[in-house]
Amino acid sequence: MTWKEVFTSSVGKKLVMSFTGIFLILFLIVHAGLNACIWANDGGTMFNAGAHFMGNNVVPRILEIGLFVGLFLHIIQGLMLEISNRSKRGTNYAVSYSKGSKWYSRSMGLLGTIILIFLVIHLSDFWLPNRAHQGFLLGEEINLYAKMQEEFSELWVVIVYVAGCLSLGYHLAHGFQSAFRTIGVHNKRYNAIFSCLGYGYAIIIPLAFIMMPISFYFHWLN
């Protein structure tokens, strides 16, 4: 059995989705944790110090390359699986079967596409201007706290971010536990743990992200 055979099989493709998904889940904890520094309410001192570390230390910058590789694999593999799976039905049913599964479990492709669009907006709002200012190498970055204040003063930007984070929440509500099933967790006790963890994570992390633009928009932060 060659590695090519493994990763081109339907189970192998799902394993790629699962491993990259778990990697992205871990990244979101770091991202949310760092961003939560805005609630220190110190005019962005703590947040900007964290952002400075992430942008000027070689380790996070190397990990950033891994993050983009993982993200790219997750997106490309996900889109290819979605297109392939949609082609397997042939003729559609006149009455579709919707009672046996959750709507968000059936809509991972759609939710993922919404998140991808949101991600392009998000990266062009913050990551890209920051790296462009640095010349993409280690160097002086822009004041990201001030940038957040400026961006989230617009209502439509806040609405786009809330919608993007809600899509992320539903994507995680299925994706978290599905990722662990895909790597073979079949023990009932562990499935129950991962199910609880998954729903908790899918609520807490997106809610933390949602509260960030809202906090700036309603001037809860100085």
């Binding site: 099989s9 799976n85 073979g184 967790v185």
Partner: protein, 254 residues
Amino acid sequence: MEHKNINLTLKVWRQQSTVSKGEFVTYQVKNISQEMSFLEMFDVLNEQLIQEDKEPIAFDHDCREGICGMCSMYIDGKPHGPWQANTTCQLHMRAFNDGDTITVEPWRAQAFPVLKDLVVDRTSFDRIIQAGGYVSVNTGNAVDGNSLPINKNDADASFAAAMCIGCGACVAACKNSSAMLFLSAKVSHLALLPQGDPERQSRVVNMVAQMDKEGFGACTNTGACEATCPKEISLSNIARLNQEYLLASFTSAE
């Protein structure tokens, strides 16, 4: 329970052959006993069609006891109809009310091409089994039941997986037309027993390869298959298959 006869409107998929275009045809059936099974109601409709000099509706059936896996109707948006853990042949007309309109379709999947009307070709399942769903090592003569120690939980889980009748409802229900619940049941019931152990790696690898070759979709763990399975095959079998495949891909010597 009060005995009632009901009148129904049926919208049934009619298709002459695999290559021809199908369409829904509407039929009226009258005075149907609620004690009839769904297939018996179709027998009545076919008698009616024969008397009208029309072609009867082709549909799969065999044991009519819920154990063979032949019946395969997609009734009102659910494989095997509205009841849980039930096959079409065990669905009875008391599930419906007088005046109902029932839509009946064949399993829809590219790997299950329609042969005629409600009959689909499920030989792809046979080929998946032929790829490794068996034990070919010499297990010797029958021995005393207790001479081979098997954990009770494993024996029960293996038996629960072996309940799969291969009807294909999982494929019909899955939005990806994936055969993973069927395949995982066949892999699990052998993987859990010592007799299945020597060939566990080649089995899972070959059966997954055959499933992909047949044109089934990939599993996305939505759970629709488990919810509609007439034998209540658990979704945890799919996770076990994934584990078997992952271990085989990392440790296979071939």
